[in-house]
């Protein structure tokens, strides 16, 4: 784990908790009002359980959300929080994180909030690389408005607003984020507490904007949307687990105990292909490099998933690279301005260089 106390760490300016914290410390006194069985409960528990591990002063943590089921999240965290308006959380959080580098700022959003009405703010937050951690709860449906298709719903989806099937092609949030110059992109699943927690940790460790897509089940309007990734039998074939530095293998275990399938790059056209290890051997299998300077392979990996069946869905940290962080650079500019021009003198500013005097 990265040492968060190091001088250059993303949370180096955030005060540490004085005493040991427990999950209970992060539960607010508000009754949680999601539908019974909603995947949001699992994510909330994971986040509340993860926070003590971060060890930051609770008062220096802020959760900002937009509108939608997941956006009720801040009310249930005993930290500072803002439940804002539809789609705008990344913009609001940008202002907060840019002025207050002593805060750990988290954005909670959904597929409609982040990718439809707030798409513009999401992509610009990613390209700016402000020190924000964005948790995108993707349930591939509009829940709070009772079941219309969302920008991640599969094409042809029958919903209340698409009785003959949706005509829209869905966004792949990971592909979108990579295209928006994101420096950290990961995907995890609500029900996999361990993977979810380790992904939160990786996001927290990352300097700059981190996007974590969390596949989250809406048991009322889109139940079982991610079942193929959760069911042990099916998941073996459907999930491609990415670990930095490890060969990209999945499927039922082969002779070496790793997945019987591997991801290789086809020298003919540069595309990624799935091969049977038994036939093709292990030599050409790609080793996952989350720190690769180019996002090309991460993007290609994100495209392996079938948007309809979710077969071959990569899970894990697809990209984690270092690049200039917006709020750090802005703070540096302010310091430089003082170095070059001295601390602002209001009287001198108002007078300017071009005055005349009227005597009484």
């Amino acid at each position: 784990m990265t040492d968060l106390t190091q001088e250059s760490g993303p949370l180096s300016l955030v005060p540490k908790a004085e005493a040991a914290q427990s999950m209970k410390d992060f539960k607010s006194d508000q009754e949680v009002r999601w539908c019974p069985g909603c995947g949001d409960y699992a994510v909330l528990a994971a986040v509340q359980g993860f926070m003590p591990q971060l060890g930051l002063a609770r008062e220096n943590i802020v959760f900002v959300s937009g509108i939608g089921c997941s956006s009720r999240f801040p009310y249930y965290m005993n930290t500072y929080g803002m439940h804002s308006i539809h789609g705008r959380a990344p913009a609001i959080a940008t202002g907060l994180a840019t002025t207050r580098r002593d805060l750990s700022v988290w954005v909670v959003t959904g597929d409609g909030d982040a990718l439809s009405i707030g798409g513009n703010h999401l992509i610009h937050a990613l390209r700016r690389n402000v020190n924000l951690k964005i948790l995108l709860f993707n349930n591939r449906i509009y829940g709070l408005t009772k079941g219309q298709y969302s920008p991640t719903s599969e094409a042809g989806k029958i919903t209340k607003s698409t009785p003959m099937g949706s005509l829209d092609s869905p966004f792949n949030p990971v592909s979108l984020a990579l295209g928006a110059e994101a420096s950290f992109v990961a995907r995890t699943v609500d029900s996999d507490r361990k993977h979810l927690t380790s992904t939160l940790q990786a996001a927290a460790d990352h300097p700059g904007t981190a996007l974590v897509e969390i596949y989250q089940n809406c048991n009322i309007f889109n139940d079982g949307a991610f079942e193929v990734l959760k069911d042990k039998q099916q998941a073996q074939e459907a999930v491609i687990r990415l670990e930095h530095g490890e060969p990209i293998r999945f499927g039922t275990p082969g002779e070496d105990g790793l997945g019987s399938k591997g991801v290789v790059r086809d020298p003919a056209d540069g595309e990624l292909r799935i091969v049977d290890i038994a036939e093709a051997g292990t030599d050409g299998v790609l080793v996952h490099d989350a720190h690769a300077p180019s996002p090309a392979t991460a993007f290609a990996l994100s495209r392996l998933a079938d948007p309809d069946t979710l077969h071959r869905t990569p899970i894990g940290v697809l990209r984690d690279v270092q690049r200039p962080v917006y709020d750090t650079d802005m703070a540096d500019q302010l310091e430089q301005a003082v170095e070059h021009h001295g601390k602002g003198d209001l009287g001198a500013l108002l007078a300017g260089n071009d005055t005349w005097t009227v005597v009484g």
């Binding site: 009310y75 929080g81 804002s84 913009a91 202002g95 207050r100 302010l334 602002g344 071009d354 005097t357």
Partner: protein, 660 residues
């Protein structure tokens, strides 16, 4: 020295704005004047002059006007300016839509407007002449750049015959000057091509005008040296063109007379002065507010005319701890500002009318969160994209009502360019005291216009410091101390501002209706009723000073008519009122800085008069509010042509309205 002053050409007797100084009644520049000799040339004294520089968008007319203004300000005249330019950066050369102009009114006494009609028009091409001649009264001087009056250029703007020859300019005093040729000639010793040399013709014109009006020239030369510090050759060429223009005036017979407009020594109280535009004053006001509040300033903004200059200006002052964030859109601009405010910054967003429309939902959120936030709307012609570079006051009702639900927001409006400084501080005071978004309604006329400003002493600026919440503010029945984010100050009804990082005060805010006190989500009908009324009561209770009434005849109670204005109409209305009073009319004047809430005495003031006339650059928005609130049959006088009122036109309208 003479005791007499004379109004220049084209100015009708009695058309003066001065309250204290009358003209001698002579009409035209050939009237009774005392002349002095400077070398061989006559110098005439004038009390005021209106000059308009007009040319192609690329001719540098705004720069020329700015420099003449700067020279005039440092000379000590009172002045007022009106830049007027197209929205296109470079409209097709030589066309009417491409004409850019800059009008400057300067005087030896205090003045209020950029003036109605120019005494001097500088027309750099046929388009500039055609676009402006209607505003120029006979008798005025016109300086034309004859080099540009080619058959083709004239045909382009519909001149079938040359206006310089067909008699259409009879009655004007036309100076035909081959500005381009003379400039090129003056620069022949410089290593610049003919085309580049010709570009300095605006500096030649500036030199000529500077001679005509005896302006000091050192600053302009210094300005050119600084501006082109990295290109000394260009600096030298421009300075040479500027000097050549001056010398041309002094030597050529065509310009037999130069003019002197004495400093406005009695117009200004003692102090240090500078010239300042509305957007600059507004930027300084925001920085001053941040300093006086001891809060970092955060500006979230998206470029939009005519507000972008505030973003540009604030981005230059990072050494004041100012953070400027050029957002991806208008919504993100205000969103980031609100996020910064949540963190304890003085959050500001700057925009114009179309941007306000986009920000409406976030303004509503700020109303609900009850956080301080400044929304600066530099109004322009609407609806939709409208007239981006022209002025209008048509966003008043948008600021007042343009949100879903009951979402009251205080509104402050500056009245002159320099007043933008004070108005910005006042808007910040209200936002910080009452924890509310506040609208600051400037407009394009104030933003780009300029006037002398007495530089304030920083010690005289108000103390805007706030106290962040530090500890629990409520005790539960069981004795537990808790923090209630919506427990209000009983006097201001403001809620505590508890910023993240404060231990023990962790709380959540949001746009869903909140329970009174606790701030927890509440759908309780009675609670919503209470919260809506409380938010309204908070804004209604904002402490604003009484509106002052200027009514010289108030003692005898004989004044029947009150003219009520708001925002940038202050100058033209005041000038019009002075004219009417000079004619013996009794008229009272009041001007609103606070549009929401209205000053507490406004109702009583309005009822004191038989007739209330409200001139506005919209279709009667303040009149609508006044009628609704006070049941007064206010007379609305409106203009929406993208330009400020002219004093004389307004005087006539007020007279007619008074006699109705």
């Amino acid at each position: 020295m003479t005791n007499q002053v004379n109004s220049p050409a084209g100015q009708r007797p009695g058309a003066d704005e001065s309250a204290n100084k009358g003209t001698n009644g002579a009409n035209g520049a050939n009237g009774d004047v005392k002349t002095e000799l400077s070398g061989t040339k006559e110098v005439r004294r004038l009390d005021r002059v209106i000059i308009r520089f007009a040319g192609d968008s690329g001719d540098g007319m705004q720069l020329t006007g700015d420099r003449f203004t700067s020279e005039t300000a440092s000379f000590g005249n009172d002045l007022s300016t009106l830049p007027n330019f197209p929205a296109e950066i470079r409209a097709p050369a030589g066309t009417l839509p491409g004409v850019s102009s800059f009008q400057l009114h300067f005087a030896d006494h205090d003045i209020l407007t950029p003036g109605d009609a120019p005494n001097v028009l500088v027309a750099m091409n046929p388009a500039a002449l055609k676009a402006n001649i209607a505003d120029v009264p006979r008798g005025a001087e016109i300086i034309v750049n004859t080099d540009e009056f080619t058959k083709r250029a004239m045909a382009k703007v519909g001149y079938e015959a040359s206006p310089l020859e067909d008699g259409s300019l009879d009655g004007y005093r036309v100076h035909e000057v081959p500005l381009t040729t003379l400039t090129v000639e003056a620069l022949k010793e410089f290593d610049v091509g003919r085309k580049d040399a010709g570009r300095s013709k605006n500096m030649f014109a500036l030199g000529l005008l500077s001679w005509m009006y005896n302006r000091p020239t050192e600053q302009t030369e210094h300005f050119l040296r600084t501006k082109f510090a990295k290109k000394p050759q260009v600096a030298q060429a421009n300075i040479a063109a500027f000097r050549a223009g001056w010398n041309f005036g002094e030597t050529t017979e065509d310009f037999a007379v130069s003019y002197e407009v004495a400093p406005a020594t009695t117009a200004f109280p003692p102090g240090t002065y500078r010239n300042i535009s509305g957007n600059l004053a507004l930027s300084y006001g925001l920085i001053a507010a941040s300093q006086q509040a001891d809060l970092p300033l955060f500006l979230g903004s998206y470029p939009i005319t005519p507000a972008s200059d505030v973003l540009h200006e604030l981005s230059r002052h990072k050494n004041f701890g100012v953070r400027t964030f050029q957002a991806e859109d208008e919504i993100a601009g205000i969103g980031a500002a609100l996020g910064a405010a949540f963190g304890g910054a003085l959050g500001v967003t700057t925009t114009s009318g179309p941007g306000v429309a986009l920000k409406s939902e976030t303004i509503g959120l700020a109303v609900s969160l009850e956080l301080p936030l400044l929304i600066v709307d530099i109004q322009r012609g609407g609806p939709s994209t409208g007239l981006p570079t022209k002025t209008e006051q048509a966003d008043l009702l948008q600021a007042m009502f343009g949100r879903n639900g009951e979402a009251p927001v205080p509104i402050v409006a500056p009245s002159t360019p320099a007043d933008c400084f004070t108005a910005a501080i006042e808007a910040a005071r209200i936002a910080l005291t009452y924890r509310t978004p506040v609208f600051l309604l400037s407009d394009g006329y104030l933003a780009n216009g300029s006037e002398p400003w007495r530089v304030p002493e920083t010690d005289d600026l108000p103390d805007l410091r706030v106290r962040f919440a530090q500890e629990p503010n409520h005790v539960l029945a069981d004795g537990t101390e808790v923090f209630w984010p919506y427990k209000r100050d009983p006097h201001t009804l403001a809620r505590p501002w508890a910023v993240p990082g404060t231990p023990g005060l962790e709380h959540r805010v949001g746009g869903i209706e909140k329970q009174d006190g606790t701030g927890n989500i509440s759908y309780d009908p009675a609670n919503h009723d209470l919260m809506v009324r409380t938010r309204q009561a908070k804004i209604d209770g904002v402490d604003v000073p009484d509106v002052e009434v200027d009514d010289p005849d108030s003692a005898d109670g004989e004044t029947k008519v009150l003219v009520l204005g708001w925002g940038s109409t202050y100058g033209p209305i005041t000038a019009a009122v002075r004219r009417l009073r000079k004619d013996g009319q009794r008229i009272a004047q009041a001007h609103l800085r606070h549009l929401n809430p209205f000053p507490g005495n406004l109702g009583a003031v309005l009822r004191r008069y038989d007739k209330v006339v409200i001139p506005e650059m919209n279709l009667g928005q303040l009149a609508t509010l006044v009628r609704a609130k006070y049941l007064i049959d206010a007379h609305s006088y409106t203009q929406v042509n993208g330009m400020p009122f002219k004093a004389e036109q307004l005087a006539t309208a007020l007279k007619e309205a008074s006699n109705d």
